[in-house]
Assembly symmetry: D2
Homo-oligomer: 288 residues x 4
């Protein structure tokens, strides 16, 4: 029976690995801080002590890491997956990284006979738990076809976007738009609040018209409750905005509004909101 690995058990990784285990796949997990493996182990997952150990044991290894630096370390670092890659094995990286990082990982793994798929996902904690993510895959087509049944346990919409790099770039574009929408919502609500308007009524008006969307409904609840449990940590949103600005720089595409959004999120990190949900941006506007 084919063996599956899963590296990285943060908010997203835990939910995704859980769905694979529940889907009946034999899964070996690893996480940098070992405590987080217990929950998965209790559900029947094997636990390994390094990315290399997972890769050595498994046919297909998935990874969900927090940023490009973590994705590189897990691949190229000591006891990283690269050393354990052998011909025919597959590596599927769900992390949100820049295209250059994705291409470097791909090149290194292919050089050892491996197969690689980048597959950043759109959606945060809830869709990860519900198996309703959007999966933006790109790269080795045979690997894509082979893991599609697994991906269908994780996502409701799964695309193959062509060559490696396209998944990374699509994710960056989507999150640029998400960051801009959140900034617009927060600035609108902050102005509304200062105008003595009722925040619930504003959200209600938005929802009734062409602007209505699940993000506003979901995050509007955080803002009304003034409580921001991290479904998507603010520091990760800002990291994705930085990747967008960098991509714009590389392609000579000005992004003046995204730059303002990025600095607003950076200001929120500077104000120690990085670990809260990215909707806590509202707090930094309300009382600077």
């Amino acid at each position: 029976m084919k063996q599956y690995g899963f590296l990285g058990l943060g908010i997203m990784g835990t939910a995704m690995a859980t769905n694979l285990v529940k889907g009946g796949y034999p899964v070996t997990v690893w996480n940098r801080s070992p405590g987080k493996t217990e929950e998965l182990a209790a559900m029947g997952a094997r636990v390994a002590l390094s990315p290399a150990a997972v890769m050595a044991h498994c046919d297909i290894t998935f990874a969900m890491l927090s940023d490009p630096a973590a994705a590189r370390t897990v691949c190229f670092g000591d006891q990283g997956v690269l050393g354990a890659m052998t011909a025919g094995k597959g590596y599927v990286d769900f992390s949100t990284v820049d295209a250059a990082t994705s291409l470097e990982i791909r090149t290194a793994l292919i050089a050892r006979g491996g197969r690689f798929l980048e597959a950043p996902v759109s959606g945060s904690k809830k869709p990860a738990e519900d198996g309703s993510l959007i999966i933006l895959a790109a790269g080795d087509r045979s690997l894509y076809d082979e893991v599609l049944p697994c991906l269908e346990k994780l996502g409701k919409k799964i695309l193959h976007l062509g060559a490696v790099g396209n998944g990374a770039r699509m994710k960056i574009v989507v999150n640029l738009i998400m960051g801009g929408m959140m900034a617009a919502l927060c600035e609108g609500l902050a102005l509304g609040e200062k105008s003595q308007l009722n925040l619930v009524e504003i959200l209600d008006v938005l929802d009734a018209g062409a602007l209505g969307n699940p993000l506003f409904r979901l995050k509007g609840e955080n803002i009304i409750a003034d409580a921001y449990p991290a479904a998507f940590p603010l520091k990760h949103m800002q990291k994705d905005l930085r990747l967008a600005i960098d991509l714009g720089d590389e392609l000579m595409q000005r992004l003046p509004c995204t730059a303002a959004v990025n600095e607003l999120f950076k200001g929120a990190r500077q104000a120690a909101l990085g670990e809260e949900d990215f909707s806590s941006l509202f707090k930094t506007l309300r009382r600077p």
Copy 2:
């Protein structure tokens, strides 16, 4: 039988007046440039030669004007409605204006015994035609109750938000958010295009997730077709953003992202896109 007036037959006003006529109300119309009254006349509307003449003939007069300056002129100008206001008549202004303008009009009309309702609407050409606008009314409650059956011909969601000024401010908040969403969409698509991603695929991914909303679907079509017939002219979007910035200034609320969005739209006006739909913002990002 009660008589109704309608002042201002632009894109929105024409659609709204048409719905009143179709709804069986006797309507007298006026427009600054007279040619636009012909279509309504052909459907059975009376035509008057000045706002004062409309007000003199009607019990209730509606107005849908392009900006605060036009709203003031139609009220206070030569042959404006103010001179023809008498005790008990009602004036309902659908225009998007600042709260100060709205309050000045209210004060002047009430001083002559009139009743006033500000009622800016959310939604552009299509919802105006379909009678599915969102109507953000505020002011005289008796007038609101009396015109509610008319408003129900025009909108699918009708709110009474309290004192005059609240409707204006709610509209400004909603349009601030709409402007921010459009800027986010356009910057995302411009970056995607430069990244060799497929614009249809980006819109498809957006629509499948938490960011999906009717505005993106509708305006995405404009962008794909590179055709921007004015449902909501760009110059009006920029005017509303200016009102938002001014309101933030007055209430000491910083709005750094909205300010960037406002300048981007201003740049588009400078590049002669003011009369096109506000989604033509995409053009100014693509080739500056």
Copy 3:
């Protein structure tokens, strides 16, 4: 002997009126809050109880008021100068206002046979005290020639820029640039400080090269000392930036960087720094 009036004894007005008194001119002063007239009275100035009383007594009346609203009130308000204007008298307004305000004041005074000069000044507390302001006059040429000896007590560079409105606009342009320079300095120093560089050394490097200027030297001292006594209050800087943005809106000129600067200053006002010197912007960047 010709009589001179001076309206408005804030930081700037006090210094300027003092220079006129010291220059040997007979000066009658007025201030909204009367306590501030004592210092001038002690130097020999007459004190009057209203702008109208000053104007009635004097041949030439100067004014230095905090913003367009104050400038309008002193002209058009109850006991304002307008009622006391008679043929041949002169009114010279040093306030920083928008061109529209300046033109309204001009039109009203001329209609009563008066003469008007707008004369906003560039320079803050120190140059006002030293009589080394830059005076940006525009309007009635005969009045300009007549008051030139007075202006030479106040400024080291005095220009006549043509029709009323040009002085206001020149002042707005200069202060837009000053606001941008201050924001650049503060962001550079904040980044330098976070980089463990020495702030004194940064200021020293700036001063040695093509960027060196008196503003950086002067305000750099505030920042090094972390003390911001108001030479030019932050709230006034932000008001001038708002006037610049409004002028850009009117003339369809995008000003994306100035808009960001304006929002940064607005955020500083929101953080209760409005009464401090505008160099206290540094504080809002250092700890948001």
Copy 4:
């Protein structure tokens, strides 16, 4: 007699190498495109065919390269200086790079027994020609003392800022401020022009007051003449702004105005102004 090398003969490098030759030092030059070496050769410089050849021949090698990528290639690339470094030789890099690049070069050279000084310069074509640059050195103190007589041929103010990285960061801070000043100047002049003010008069007013500085005087001439021969190419200014934004990201320092400035310069690059002087930013504001 000690031998000196110079790598990189762009606008700046040519002027600096020329001053060394004129100062009587025996200099060996290299440039990526060989044509540029002719002028130096005519003055008596030796020409070598690779960075490694220069380093092999010389005791001290200077470099002035266009960006971090070029600085890395010249050090680490095929026939780069690294391979030719031996114990005691010195390498002085004048390029503007990020601190990480500078540190990597330092570490590699030291590992081979070499000595390293980063020494980014402030000032463009004219000060480079006049030998009046500001030199922001950091790193090996013995090397600094040894090359100080050379540096004095190139600059009028020479600082040693401590550990490698401080020079890079100081340069980034200075250029962040320069970019902000240029954006402020250009937005002010664009608004002034739209206001029918005279650009020469605006520059004259600026120069008379606390804002007056050599940069505005120098670049104001470009703008008046609408001619932008590259003293400091716009693409390099934008690169330095990107480095500033990246440093702010790393240190969690928001830089909202610098981000707007960066996007404005990026838009100018997108509009094909990258090779012109950075004062050509004015063109992108005037006609977007």
